[in-house]
Protein backbone atom coordinates (compact mmCIF):
# COMPACT_ATOMS: atom_id res chain seq x y z
CA UNK A 1 0.00 0.00 0.00
CA UNK A 2 1.14 3.48 -0.78
CA UNK A 3 1.32 6.17 1.83
CA UNK A 4 -1.94 7.93 2.36
CA UNK A 5 -1.02 11.14 0.70
CA UNK A 6 0.34 9.70 -2.51
CA UNK A 7 -1.38 11.28 -5.51
CA UNK A 8 -4.80 10.17 -6.64
CA UNK A 9 -5.91 9.03 -10.09
CA UNK A 10 -9.68 9.28 -10.23
CA UNK A 11 -11.76 7.31 -12.75
CA UNK A 12 -15.29 8.66 -12.98
CA UNK A 13 -18.20 6.50 -14.07
CA UNK A 14 -20.97 8.84 -15.14
CA UNK A 15 -23.48 6.40 -16.48
CA UNK A 16 -24.34 2.77 -16.65
CA UNK A 17 -22.96 2.04 -20.07
CA UNK A 18 -22.36 -1.61 -19.35
CA UNK A 19 -19.51 -3.07 -17.39
CA UNK A 20 -16.91 -2.97 -20.13
CA UNK A 21 -16.56 0.79 -20.63
CA UNK A 22 -16.13 1.35 -16.91
CA UNK A 23 -13.55 -1.42 -16.68
CA UNK A 24 -11.57 0.09 -19.56
CA UNK A 25 -11.54 3.37 -17.69
CA UNK A 26 -10.27 1.73 -14.53
CA UNK A 27 -7.64 -0.16 -16.55
CA UNK A 28 -6.39 3.19 -17.85
CA UNK A 29 -6.38 4.53 -14.31
CA UNK A 30 -4.21 1.63 -13.13
CA UNK A 31 -1.66 2.27 -15.87
CA UNK A 32 -1.45 5.94 -14.95
CA UNK A 33 -1.35 5.21 -11.23
CA UNK A 34 1.55 2.80 -11.60
CA UNK A 35 3.60 5.43 -13.36
CA UNK A 36 2.72 8.14 -10.85
CA UNK A 37 2.93 5.82 -7.82
CA UNK A 38 -0.57 6.98 -7.14
CA UNK A 39 -3.69 5.45 -5.72
CA UNK A 40 -6.64 4.59 -7.92
CA UNK A 41 -9.99 6.01 -6.94
CA UNK A 42 -13.29 5.33 -8.64
CA UNK A 43 -16.14 7.81 -8.40
CA UNK A 44 -19.57 6.64 -9.50
CA UNK A 45 -22.06 9.42 -10.12
CA UNK A 46 -24.76 7.42 -11.89
CA UNK A 47 -27.00 4.66 -10.72
CA UNK A 48 -25.24 1.50 -11.87
CA UNK A 49 -26.16 -2.16 -12.11
CA UNK A 50 -25.18 -4.75 -9.49
CA UNK A 51 -22.94 -6.30 -12.07
CA UNK A 52 -21.02 -3.12 -12.58
CA UNK A 53 -20.85 -2.44 -8.85
CA UNK A 54 -19.30 -5.87 -8.34
CA UNK A 55 -16.90 -5.25 -11.21
CA UNK A 56 -15.74 -1.99 -9.68
CA UNK A 57 -15.36 -3.51 -6.23
CA UNK A 58 -12.98 -6.14 -7.59
CA UNK A 59 -11.13 -3.86 -9.98
CA UNK A 60 -8.18 -3.30 -7.68
CA UNK A 61 -9.11 0.30 -6.92
CA UNK A 62 -7.92 1.71 -3.60
CA UNK A 63 -10.81 4.06 -2.99
CA UNK A 64 -14.44 3.91 -4.01
CA UNK A 65 -16.80 6.85 -3.92
CA UNK A 66 -20.41 7.13 -4.87
CA UNK A 67 -22.80 10.01 -5.09
CA UNK A 68 -26.05 9.77 -3.23
CA UNK A 69 -28.63 10.30 -4.50
CA UNK A 70 -27.11 9.27 -7.81
CA UNK A 71 -27.45 11.45 -10.87
CA UNK A 72 -29.80 10.31 -13.57
CA UNK A 73 -30.30 12.88 -16.19
CA UNK A 74 -27.53 12.84 -18.75
CA UNK A 75 -29.10 15.62 -20.76
CA UNK A 76 -28.35 17.98 -17.94
CA UNK A 77 -24.72 17.15 -17.74
CA UNK A 78 -24.14 20.54 -16.12
CA UNK A 79 -25.35 19.04 -12.85
CA UNK A 80 -23.00 16.07 -13.19
CA UNK A 81 -20.24 18.52 -13.94
CA UNK A 82 -20.87 20.61 -10.85
CA UNK A 83 -21.00 17.56 -8.61
CA UNK A 84 -17.75 16.21 -10.04
CA UNK A 85 -16.12 19.62 -9.73
CA UNK A 86 -17.11 19.73 -6.08
CA UNK A 87 -15.76 16.23 -5.39
CA UNK A 88 -12.51 16.93 -7.23
CA UNK A 89 -11.94 20.07 -5.21
CA UNK A 90 -12.17 17.92 -2.11
CA UNK A 91 -10.11 14.94 -3.27
CA UNK A 92 -7.54 16.90 -5.24
CA UNK A 93 -6.68 14.24 -7.84
CA UNK A 94 -3.66 14.60 -10.11
CA UNK A 95 -5.47 12.88 -12.95
CA UNK A 96 -9.18 12.57 -13.71
CA UNK A 97 -10.38 10.01 -16.25
CA UNK A 98 -13.75 10.04 -17.98
CA UNK A 99 -15.01 7.87 -20.83
CA UNK A 100 -14.98 9.72 -24.16
CA UNK A 101 -18.72 9.24 -24.51
CA UNK A 102 -21.53 11.78 -24.74
CA UNK A 103 -21.15 12.89 -21.14
CA UNK A 104 -17.37 12.82 -21.19
CA UNK A 105 -16.98 14.98 -24.26
CA UNK A 106 -19.47 17.44 -22.90
CA UNK A 107 -17.99 17.84 -19.45
CA UNK A 108 -14.29 16.94 -19.81
CA UNK A 109 -13.25 20.26 -21.24
CA UNK A 110 -15.43 22.20 -18.79
CA UNK A 111 -14.09 20.31 -15.80
CA UNK A 112 -10.54 21.12 -16.86
CA UNK A 113 -11.55 24.77 -17.18
CA UNK A 114 -13.08 24.87 -13.71
CA UNK A 115 -10.17 23.09 -12.06
CA UNK A 116 -7.56 25.09 -13.99
CA UNK A 117 -6.26 21.84 -15.42
CA UNK A 118 -5.15 20.63 -18.80
CA UNK A 119 -7.48 18.65 -21.04
CA UNK A 120 -6.55 15.57 -23.08
CA UNK A 121 -9.42 14.18 -25.14
CA UNK A 122 -9.85 10.80 -26.78
CA UNK A 123 -6.83 9.20 -25.15
CA UNK A 124 -5.80 5.89 -26.74
CA UNK A 125 -2.75 5.00 -24.68
CA UNK A 126 -0.92 6.13 -21.56
CA UNK A 127 2.81 5.70 -21.04
CA UNK A 128 5.50 7.14 -18.87
CA UNK A 129 8.22 9.46 -20.10
CA UNK A 130 11.65 7.91 -19.91
CA UNK A 131 13.41 10.67 -18.01
CA UNK A 132 10.90 11.58 -15.36
CA UNK A 133 7.68 10.19 -14.06
CA UNK A 134 5.47 12.25 -16.28
CA UNK A 135 2.65 10.70 -18.27
CA UNK A 136 2.48 10.63 -22.05
CA UNK A 137 -0.95 10.47 -23.61
CA UNK A 138 -1.52 9.22 -27.16
CA UNK A 139 -4.50 10.61 -29.05
CA UNK A 140 -5.73 10.84 -32.64
CA UNK A 141 -5.36 14.05 -34.64
CA UNK A 142 -6.35 15.06 -38.16
CA UNK A 143 -9.44 12.90 -37.98
CA UNK A 144 -7.40 9.81 -37.18
CA UNK A 145 -4.96 10.31 -40.04
CA UNK A 146 -2.23 10.86 -37.48
CA UNK A 147 -1.63 10.47 -33.77
CA UNK A 148 0.10 12.69 -31.28
CA UNK A 149 1.76 12.05 -27.97
CA UNK A 150 1.38 14.84 -25.43
CA UNK A 151 2.46 15.45 -21.87
CA UNK A 152 0.69 17.69 -19.45
CA UNK A 153 2.52 20.48 -17.71
CA UNK A 154 -0.31 21.08 -15.27
CA UNK A 155 -0.87 19.94 -11.73
CA UNK A 156 -4.17 18.45 -12.76
CA UNK A 157 -5.09 16.80 -16.04
CA UNK A 158 -8.53 15.74 -17.20
CA UNK A 159 -8.50 12.92 -19.73
CA UNK A 160 -11.32 11.39 -21.74
CA UNK A 161 -10.58 7.80 -22.69
CA UNK A 162 -11.43 6.50 -26.16
CA UNK A 163 -13.46 3.28 -26.04
CA UNK A 164 -11.83 -0.03 -26.83
CA UNK A 165 -8.26 1.11 -26.29
CA UNK A 166 -7.55 -0.18 -22.78
CA UNK A 167 -7.90 -3.82 -21.88
CA UNK A 168 -9.40 -4.50 -18.48
CA UNK A 169 -7.30 -6.98 -16.57
CA UNK A 170 -8.57 -8.90 -13.60
CA UNK A 171 -6.71 -7.80 -10.48
CA UNK A 172 -6.91 -8.88 -6.94
CA UNK A 173 -8.59 -6.27 -4.83
CA UNK A 174 -6.09 -4.26 -2.83
CA UNK A 175 -6.85 -2.78 0.52
CA UNK A 176 -10.27 -1.96 1.77
CA UNK A 177 -13.00 -1.77 -0.78
CA UNK A 178 -15.69 -0.02 1.14
CA UNK A 179 -17.69 2.69 -0.55
CA UNK A 180 -17.55 6.23 0.69
CA UNK A 181 -20.83 7.96 0.05
CA UNK A 182 -20.74 11.60 -0.89
CA UNK A 183 -23.99 13.44 -0.41
CA UNK A 184 -25.24 15.20 -3.51
CA UNK A 185 -26.68 18.50 -2.49
CA UNK A 186 -27.16 19.83 -5.99
CA UNK A 187 -30.70 20.13 -7.26
CA UNK A 188 -31.29 17.81 -10.20
CA UNK A 189 -31.86 20.69 -12.55
CA UNK A 190 -29.73 22.82 -14.77
CA UNK A 191 -30.98 26.29 -15.36
CA UNK A 192 -32.46 26.54 -18.76
CA UNK A 193 -32.28 23.01 -20.19
CA UNK A 194 -35.14 20.56 -20.25
CA UNK A 195 -35.64 17.33 -22.16
CA UNK A 196 -38.92 17.54 -24.05
CA UNK A 197 -38.70 14.58 -26.39
CA UNK A 198 -36.59 12.10 -28.20
CA UNK A 199 -36.16 8.43 -28.64
CA UNK A 200 -34.38 6.25 -26.17
CA UNK A 201 -32.28 3.30 -27.07
CA UNK A 202 -34.33 0.80 -29.08
CA UNK A 203 -35.21 -2.14 -26.88
CA UNK A 204 -34.28 -5.61 -27.98
CA UNK A 205 -31.80 -8.24 -27.08
CA UNK A 206 -29.35 -7.44 -29.86
CA UNK A 207 -25.78 -7.77 -28.77
CA UNK A 208 -24.11 -4.46 -28.00
CA UNK A 209 -22.17 -3.46 -31.06
CA UNK A 210 -19.11 -2.42 -29.09
CA UNK A 211 -18.88 -5.78 -27.40
CA UNK A 212 -19.50 -8.05 -30.39
CA UNK A 213 -16.49 -10.12 -31.42
CA UNK A 214 -17.62 -10.20 -35.05
CA UNK A 215 -19.17 -7.25 -36.88
CA UNK A 216 -20.61 -7.38 -40.37
CA UNK A 217 -20.97 -3.77 -41.46
CA UNK A 218 -22.74 -2.41 -44.51
CA UNK A 219 -22.55 0.90 -46.31
CA UNK A 220 -24.22 2.82 -49.10
CA UNK A 221 -23.15 0.04 -51.46
CA UNK A 222 -25.78 -2.24 -49.90
CA UNK A 223 -28.31 -0.15 -51.78
CA UNK A 224 -31.42 -0.69 -49.66
CA UNK A 225 -32.85 -1.90 -46.38
CA UNK A 226 -33.52 -5.38 -47.78
CA UNK A 227 -29.87 -5.80 -48.60
CA UNK A 228 -29.09 -5.66 -44.90
CA UNK A 229 -30.99 -8.93 -44.41
CA UNK A 230 -28.07 -10.73 -46.02
CA UNK A 231 -25.65 -8.99 -43.68
CA UNK A 232 -27.84 -9.95 -40.75
CA UNK A 233 -27.83 -13.58 -41.87
CA UNK A 234 -24.04 -13.61 -42.13
CA UNK A 235 -23.70 -11.89 -38.75
CA UNK A 236 -26.07 -14.43 -37.21
CA UNK A 237 -24.02 -17.27 -38.61
CA UNK A 238 -20.84 -15.85 -37.07
CA UNK A 239 -22.51 -14.96 -33.78
CA UNK A 240 -21.85 -11.32 -34.51
CA UNK A 241 -23.64 -8.01 -34.85
CA UNK A 242 -24.53 -5.77 -37.77
CA UNK A 243 -22.79 -2.42 -38.07
CA UNK A 244 -23.05 0.34 -40.64
CA UNK A 245 -21.49 3.41 -42.13
CA UNK A 246 -23.06 6.80 -41.61
CA UNK A 247 -24.36 6.73 -45.19
CA UNK A 248 -26.42 3.60 -44.47
CA UNK A 249 -27.74 5.12 -41.23
CA UNK A 250 -28.64 8.40 -42.92
CA UNK A 251 -30.44 6.45 -45.64
CA UNK A 252 -32.62 4.97 -42.89
CA UNK A 253 -31.69 1.35 -43.60
CA UNK A 254 -30.38 0.72 -40.09
CA UNK A 255 -30.68 2.53 -36.75
CA UNK A 256 -28.18 5.09 -35.52
CA UNK A 257 -27.13 2.72 -32.73
CA UNK A 258 -25.13 0.62 -35.16
CA UNK A 259 -23.20 3.44 -36.79
CA UNK A 260 -19.44 3.03 -36.63
CA UNK A 261 -17.06 5.97 -36.88
CA UNK A 262 -16.20 9.44 -35.71
CA UNK A 263 -19.82 10.34 -34.95
CA UNK A 264 -20.80 6.78 -34.08
CA UNK A 265 -19.30 3.92 -32.15
CA UNK A 266 -15.71 2.87 -31.78
CA UNK A 267 -15.36 -0.87 -32.13
CA UNK A 268 -12.50 -3.33 -31.97
CA UNK A 269 -13.85 -6.80 -32.77
CA UNK A 270 -11.85 -9.90 -33.68
CA UNK A 271 -13.27 -9.65 -37.17
CA UNK A 272 -14.80 -6.72 -39.04
CA UNK A 273 -16.35 -7.45 -42.41
CA UNK A 274 -16.93 -4.19 -44.33
CA UNK A 275 -19.41 -4.63 -47.15
CA UNK A 276 -20.11 -1.83 -49.63
CA UNK A 277 -18.22 0.66 -47.47
CA UNK A 278 -15.71 2.90 -49.23
CA UNK A 279 -13.54 3.55 -46.19
CA UNK A 280 -13.87 7.28 -45.51
CA UNK A 281 -11.56 8.40 -42.74
CA UNK A 282 -14.52 9.19 -40.48
CA UNK A 283 -15.53 5.56 -40.76
CA UNK A 284 -12.05 4.10 -40.41
CA UNK A 285 -11.39 5.93 -37.16
CA UNK A 286 -14.15 3.86 -35.56
CA UNK A 287 -12.95 0.46 -36.70
CA UNK A 288 -9.19 0.43 -37.30
CA UNK A 289 -8.81 -1.28 -33.94
CA UNK A 290 -10.38 -4.46 -35.36
CA UNK A 291 -7.98 -7.38 -35.27
CA UNK A 292 -8.89 -8.69 -38.70
CA UNK A 293 -10.65 -6.82 -41.47
CA UNK A 294 -12.24 -8.28 -44.58
CA UNK A 295 -13.50 -5.83 -47.20
CA UNK A 296 -15.98 -6.58 -49.94
CA UNK A 297 -16.32 -3.82 -52.52
CA UNK A 298 -16.91 -3.50 -56.26
CA UNK A 299 -14.30 -0.77 -56.53
CA UNK A 300 -10.81 -2.18 -56.34
CA UNK A 301 -9.47 1.29 -55.52
CA UNK A 302 -11.70 1.75 -52.47
CA UNK A 303 -9.66 3.02 -49.50
CA UNK A 304 -11.19 0.37 -47.25
CA UNK A 305 -8.77 -2.12 -48.83
CA UNK A 306 -5.97 -0.07 -47.33
CA UNK A 307 -6.94 -1.21 -43.84
CA UNK A 308 -8.07 -4.73 -44.78
CA UNK A 309 -6.22 -8.02 -44.36
CA UNK A 310 -8.31 -9.71 -46.97
CA UNK A 311 -9.99 -7.99 -49.91
CA UNK A 312 -12.72 -9.20 -52.20
CA UNK A 313 -13.36 -7.12 -55.28
CA UNK A 314 -16.88 -7.89 -56.32
CA UNK A 315 -20.60 -7.35 -55.96
CA UNK A 316 -21.76 -8.26 -52.48
CA UNK A 317 -24.99 -9.61 -53.96
CA UNK A 318 -22.93 -12.42 -55.49
CA UNK A 319 -20.28 -12.78 -52.81
CA UNK A 320 -22.44 -12.87 -49.68
CA UNK A 321 -24.78 -15.70 -50.69
CA UNK A 322 -21.78 -17.75 -51.75
CA UNK A 323 -19.99 -16.93 -48.50
CA UNK A 324 -23.00 -17.84 -46.40
CA UNK A 325 -23.18 -21.15 -48.30
CA UNK A 326 -19.49 -21.81 -47.86
CA UNK A 327 -19.68 -21.14 -44.13
CA UNK A 328 -22.74 -23.35 -43.71
CA UNK A 329 -21.01 -26.23 -45.46
CA UNK A 330 -18.47 -27.45 -43.02
CA UNK A 331 -16.08 -28.82 -45.59
Amino acid sequence: MEVRNSPLVLAIVTWNDGVNRAMELIAAAHIAAEALRARVGVLVTAEVSENLTAGIETSGADLLYRISPSLKNFARSGVTLSVIEHVCKGLDPALVLLAADMVGIEIGSRLAYRLHGAYVSNCMAIEQTQDDRRLCFTRPVYGGRAVEVVTSESLLTVVTVKPKCFVPSPRAARGACAWTTIANEMAETESGIEVVGGSGPPSGAEAKLEDASVIVAGGRGIGNEAGFLQLRELAGLLNGAVGASRAAVDAGWVPKTVQVGQTGKTVAPELYIAVGISGAVQHLTGMVGAKHVIAINTDEEAPIFGVANLGVVGDYREILPALIDALKNTV
Partner: protein, 261 residues
Protein backbone atom coordinates in the same frame (compact mmCIF):
# COMPACT_ATOMS: atom_id res chain seq x y z
CA UNK B 1 -30.92 38.34 -32.16
CA UNK B 2 -27.34 37.43 -32.79
CA UNK B 3 -25.76 34.00 -33.24
CA UNK B 4 -22.00 33.57 -33.31
CA UNK B 5 -20.47 30.71 -35.24
CA UNK B 6 -16.84 29.89 -34.50
CA UNK B 7 -15.06 28.68 -37.59
CA UNK B 8 -11.54 27.68 -38.39
CA UNK B 9 -9.56 26.52 -41.35
CA UNK B 10 -8.71 22.91 -42.01
CA UNK B 11 -6.83 20.96 -44.62
CA UNK B 12 -9.01 20.14 -47.60
CA UNK B 13 -8.61 16.38 -47.61
CA UNK B 14 -10.34 15.99 -50.93
CA UNK B 15 -7.41 17.71 -52.52
CA UNK B 16 -4.44 16.83 -50.40
CA UNK B 17 -4.52 13.44 -48.72
CA UNK B 18 -1.97 11.44 -50.65
CA UNK B 19 1.29 12.94 -49.48
CA UNK B 20 0.23 13.90 -45.98
CA UNK B 21 3.27 14.12 -43.70
CA UNK B 22 3.98 15.73 -40.38
CA UNK B 23 7.07 17.79 -39.81
CA UNK B 24 9.15 16.34 -37.00
CA UNK B 25 10.11 19.66 -35.53
CA UNK B 26 7.10 21.90 -35.95
CA UNK B 27 4.58 19.03 -35.59
CA UNK B 28 2.64 20.74 -38.37
CA UNK B 29 1.41 18.95 -41.49
CA UNK B 30 3.42 19.35 -44.65
CA UNK B 31 1.37 18.73 -47.72
CA UNK B 32 2.43 19.75 -51.17
CA UNK B 33 -0.54 21.44 -52.82
CA UNK B 34 -2.08 21.99 -49.40
CA UNK B 35 -5.46 23.56 -49.78
CA UNK B 36 -7.33 24.92 -46.86
CA UNK B 37 -11.04 25.16 -46.45
CA UNK B 38 -13.51 25.81 -43.68
CA UNK B 39 -13.47 22.96 -41.17
CA UNK B 40 -16.23 20.53 -42.08
CA UNK B 41 -17.93 20.60 -38.68
CA UNK B 42 -17.82 24.40 -38.65
CA UNK B 43 -19.47 24.56 -42.06
CA UNK B 44 -22.25 22.40 -40.62
CA UNK B 45 -22.52 24.63 -37.53
CA UNK B 46 -22.85 27.62 -39.83
CA UNK B 47 -25.57 25.88 -41.84
CA UNK B 48 -27.53 25.16 -38.64
CA UNK B 49 -27.23 28.84 -37.63
CA UNK B 50 -28.25 30.06 -41.08
CA UNK B 51 -31.35 27.86 -40.98
CA UNK B 52 -32.36 29.51 -37.70
CA UNK B 53 -31.90 32.96 -39.18
CA UNK B 54 -33.70 32.10 -42.41
CA UNK B 55 -36.73 30.96 -40.40
CA UNK B 56 -36.68 33.38 -37.50
CA UNK B 57 -34.56 36.38 -38.44
CA UNK B 58 -31.56 37.79 -36.66
CA UNK B 59 -27.93 37.99 -37.66
CA UNK B 60 -25.17 35.43 -37.98
CA UNK B 61 -21.61 36.42 -37.26
CA UNK B 62 -18.74 34.10 -38.16
CA UNK B 63 -15.76 34.39 -35.86
CA UNK B 64 -12.28 32.97 -36.29
CA UNK B 65 -8.92 33.09 -34.59
CA UNK B 66 -6.31 32.66 -37.28
CA UNK B 67 -3.90 34.21 -39.70
CA UNK B 68 -4.47 36.60 -42.58
CA UNK B 69 -5.13 33.57 -44.78
CA UNK B 70 -8.09 32.67 -42.59
CA UNK B 71 -9.90 35.60 -44.18
CA UNK B 72 -10.68 33.26 -47.10
CA UNK B 73 -12.52 30.96 -44.74
CA UNK B 74 -14.53 33.89 -43.40
CA UNK B 75 -15.31 34.99 -46.98
CA UNK B 76 -16.64 31.51 -47.53
CA UNK B 77 -18.88 31.97 -44.50
CA UNK B 78 -20.07 35.26 -45.97
CA UNK B 79 -20.75 33.59 -49.31
CA UNK B 80 -22.97 31.10 -47.48
CA UNK B 81 -24.77 34.29 -46.36
CA UNK B 82 -23.49 34.85 -42.88
CA UNK B 83 -24.24 38.50 -42.13
CA UNK B 84 -20.88 39.51 -40.73
CA UNK B 85 -17.44 38.11 -40.07
CA UNK B 86 -14.68 38.83 -37.58
CA UNK B 87 -11.09 37.68 -37.80
CA UNK B 88 -8.95 37.75 -34.70
CA UNK B 89 -5.43 37.69 -36.00
CA UNK B 90 -3.41 35.49 -33.67
CA UNK B 91 -1.71 32.12 -33.58
CA UNK B 92 -2.57 30.65 -30.25
CA UNK B 93 -2.90 27.41 -28.35
CA UNK B 94 -6.38 26.17 -27.68
CA UNK B 95 -6.10 27.25 -24.07
CA UNK B 96 -5.64 30.89 -25.04
CA UNK B 97 -8.13 30.73 -27.90
CA UNK B 98 -11.02 30.16 -25.54
CA UNK B 99 -10.26 33.33 -23.60
CA UNK B 100 -9.80 35.33 -26.77
CA UNK B 101 -12.98 34.09 -28.45
CA UNK B 102 -14.88 34.76 -25.24
CA UNK B 103 -13.55 38.32 -25.09
CA UNK B 104 -14.49 38.94 -28.72
CA UNK B 105 -18.00 37.59 -28.20
CA UNK B 106 -18.53 39.69 -25.09
CA UNK B 107 -17.38 42.74 -26.97
CA UNK B 108 -19.66 42.10 -29.94
CA UNK B 109 -22.35 40.88 -27.74
CA UNK B 110 -25.51 40.21 -26.73
CA UNK B 111 -26.08 36.80 -28.28
CA UNK B 112 -28.61 34.02 -28.18
CA UNK B 113 -26.27 31.22 -29.16
CA UNK B 114 -22.63 30.51 -29.91
CA UNK B 115 -22.14 27.50 -32.16
CA UNK B 116 -18.94 25.54 -32.60
CA UNK B 117 -18.06 22.36 -34.42
CA UNK B 118 -18.13 19.18 -32.35
CA UNK B 119 -14.38 19.05 -32.82
CA UNK B 120 -11.93 20.50 -35.24
CA UNK B 121 -10.55 18.19 -37.87
CA UNK B 122 -7.01 19.18 -36.97
CA UNK B 123 -6.31 18.74 -33.29
CA UNK B 124 -9.79 17.37 -32.83
CA UNK B 125 -9.90 17.98 -29.13
CA UNK B 126 -13.42 19.32 -28.80
CA UNK B 127 -12.16 21.72 -26.16
CA UNK B 128 -13.26 25.05 -27.53
CA UNK B 129 -17.07 24.81 -27.49
CA UNK B 130 -17.53 23.52 -23.94
CA UNK B 131 -14.68 25.79 -22.80
CA UNK B 132 -16.49 28.79 -24.24
CA UNK B 133 -19.63 27.83 -22.32
CA UNK B 134 -17.57 28.12 -19.14
CA UNK B 135 -15.94 31.32 -20.29
CA UNK B 136 -19.30 32.91 -21.05
CA UNK B 137 -21.08 31.33 -18.09
CA UNK B 138 -23.89 29.76 -20.11
CA UNK B 139 -25.13 26.17 -20.54
CA UNK B 140 -23.52 23.87 -23.10
CA UNK B 141 -25.31 21.43 -25.37
CA UNK B 142 -23.21 19.09 -27.45
CA UNK B 143 -23.92 17.07 -30.59
CA UNK B 144 -26.62 19.39 -31.95
CA UNK B 145 -28.10 18.64 -35.37
CA UNK B 146 -30.90 21.23 -35.58
CA UNK B 147 -32.16 24.31 -33.77
CA UNK B 148 -35.47 26.11 -33.80
CA UNK B 149 -35.69 29.57 -32.25
CA UNK B 150 -38.74 30.27 -30.11
CA UNK B 151 -40.08 33.42 -28.46
CA UNK B 152 -38.42 32.45 -25.20
CA UNK B 153 -37.24 28.86 -25.14
CA UNK B 154 -35.46 27.37 -28.11
CA UNK B 155 -35.83 23.80 -29.31
CA UNK B 156 -32.63 21.91 -29.87
CA UNK B 157 -32.31 18.46 -31.38
CA UNK B 158 -29.20 16.54 -30.61
CA UNK B 159 -27.77 13.11 -31.23
CA UNK B 160 -27.03 10.83 -28.34
CA UNK B 161 -24.99 7.70 -28.74
CA UNK B 162 -28.18 5.68 -28.90
CA UNK B 163 -30.66 7.91 -30.66
CA UNK B 164 -31.69 11.55 -30.41
CA UNK B 165 -33.07 13.97 -27.88
CA UNK B 166 -35.17 17.13 -28.07
CA UNK B 167 -34.24 19.79 -25.57
CA UNK B 168 -35.89 23.06 -24.65
CA UNK B 169 -33.29 25.59 -23.68
CA UNK B 170 -33.41 29.15 -22.49
CA UNK B 171 -30.88 31.17 -24.51
CA UNK B 172 -28.13 32.20 -24.40
CA UNK B 173 -26.23 28.94 -24.71
CA UNK B 174 -23.21 27.42 -26.41
CA UNK B 175 -23.70 24.44 -28.70
CA UNK B 176 -21.44 22.06 -30.53
CA UNK B 177 -22.79 20.82 -33.84
CA UNK B 178 -22.53 17.48 -35.63
CA UNK B 179 -23.61 16.42 -39.08
CA UNK B 180 -26.98 15.00 -40.16
CA UNK B 181 -29.14 14.79 -43.24
CA UNK B 182 -30.94 18.01 -42.29
CA UNK B 183 -27.85 20.19 -42.12
CA UNK B 184 -25.90 19.56 -45.31
CA UNK B 185 -24.07 22.84 -45.87
CA UNK B 186 -25.46 24.99 -48.68
CA UNK B 187 -23.24 25.57 -51.69
CA UNK B 188 -22.78 29.26 -52.48
CA UNK B 189 -23.51 30.46 -56.00
CA UNK B 190 -20.94 32.35 -58.05
CA UNK B 191 -22.94 35.53 -57.40
CA UNK B 192 -22.76 34.97 -53.66
CA UNK B 193 -19.04 34.40 -53.89
CA UNK B 194 -18.51 37.65 -55.74
CA UNK B 195 -20.66 39.54 -53.25
CA UNK B 196 -18.76 38.00 -50.34
CA UNK B 197 -15.47 38.88 -51.96
CA UNK B 198 -16.41 42.54 -51.71
CA UNK B 199 -17.71 42.29 -48.16
CA UNK B 200 -15.51 43.48 -45.35
CA UNK B 201 -14.15 41.17 -42.68
CA UNK B 202 -13.62 42.94 -39.38
CA UNK B 203 -10.10 42.35 -38.08
CA UNK B 204 -9.20 42.41 -34.40
CA UNK B 205 -5.87 41.85 -32.69
CA UNK B 206 -5.39 40.30 -29.25
CA UNK B 207 -4.36 43.74 -27.97
CA UNK B 208 -7.81 45.04 -28.92
CA UNK B 209 -9.35 42.47 -26.62
CA UNK B 210 -6.95 42.61 -23.69
CA UNK B 211 -7.10 41.68 -20.94
CA UNK B 212 -8.34 38.18 -21.64
CA UNK B 213 -7.60 34.82 -20.10
CA UNK B 214 -9.47 31.63 -19.40
CA UNK B 215 -9.72 28.80 -16.92
CA UNK B 216 -7.08 27.07 -18.99
CA UNK B 217 -4.66 29.93 -18.58
CA UNK B 218 -2.36 28.05 -16.28
CA UNK B 219 -2.57 24.70 -18.02
CA UNK B 220 -0.54 23.44 -20.89
CA UNK B 221 -0.05 20.39 -23.03
CA UNK B 222 3.25 19.81 -24.74
CA UNK B 223 3.46 17.78 -27.94
CA UNK B 224 6.15 15.12 -27.62
CA UNK B 225 5.66 13.78 -31.11
CA UNK B 226 3.12 13.58 -33.90
CA UNK B 227 3.19 11.08 -36.71
CA UNK B 228 1.09 9.73 -39.53
CA UNK B 229 -0.47 6.48 -38.45
CA UNK B 230 0.20 4.07 -41.28
CA UNK B 231 -1.91 1.01 -41.48
CA UNK B 232 0.35 -1.97 -41.11
CA UNK B 233 -2.03 -4.18 -43.00
CA UNK B 234 -1.05 -5.79 -46.23
CA UNK B 235 -4.28 -6.47 -48.07
CA UNK B 236 -4.41 -9.76 -49.90
CA UNK B 237 -6.98 -9.70 -52.67
CA UNK B 238 -8.65 -13.01 -53.38
CA UNK B 239 -9.18 -14.11 -56.95
CA UNK B 240 -11.45 -16.40 -58.92
CA UNK B 241 -15.21 -16.34 -59.43
CA UNK B 242 -17.68 -15.49 -56.71
CA UNK B 243 -17.80 -19.04 -55.36
CA UNK B 244 -14.03 -19.37 -55.25
CA UNK B 245 -13.68 -16.00 -53.57
CA UNK B 246 -16.33 -16.93 -51.03
CA UNK B 247 -14.53 -20.20 -50.25
CA UNK B 248 -11.31 -18.42 -49.61
CA UNK B 249 -12.98 -15.90 -47.33
CA UNK B 250 -14.71 -18.74 -45.50
CA UNK B 251 -11.45 -20.54 -44.87
CA UNK B 252 -9.88 -17.29 -43.63
CA UNK B 253 -12.81 -16.78 -41.26
CA UNK B 254 -12.46 -20.35 -39.98
CA UNK B 255 -8.79 -19.82 -39.33
CA UNK B 256 -9.17 -16.65 -37.29
CA UNK B 257 -12.33 -17.64 -35.44
CA UNK B 258 -11.44 -20.93 -33.79
CA UNK B 259 -14.86 -21.10 -32.18
CA UNK B 260 -16.35 -21.23 -35.65
CA UNK B 261 -15.39 -24.59 -37.03
Amino acid sequence: MQIFVCVKDAIDWNLSTKDFRIDRVSHEPTVSFARYRIDEYDEIALEVALQVRDRSGGTIRALSVGSEATEDILKHALSMKADAATLIEAQLSVEDKVGLLGAAIRRQGPFKAVLCGLMSSGSGTGTTGPGLAEELGVPCISNITAIEAGPDRWRVRRETSEAFEELAVMPPFVGTVTNAECNLPRVPTMKDKIRAFRQRVEVLRPADLAPYSSGYARSRLRIVRRYVAHSSRECRKVGGDAVEKAREVASYVRRILPQFT
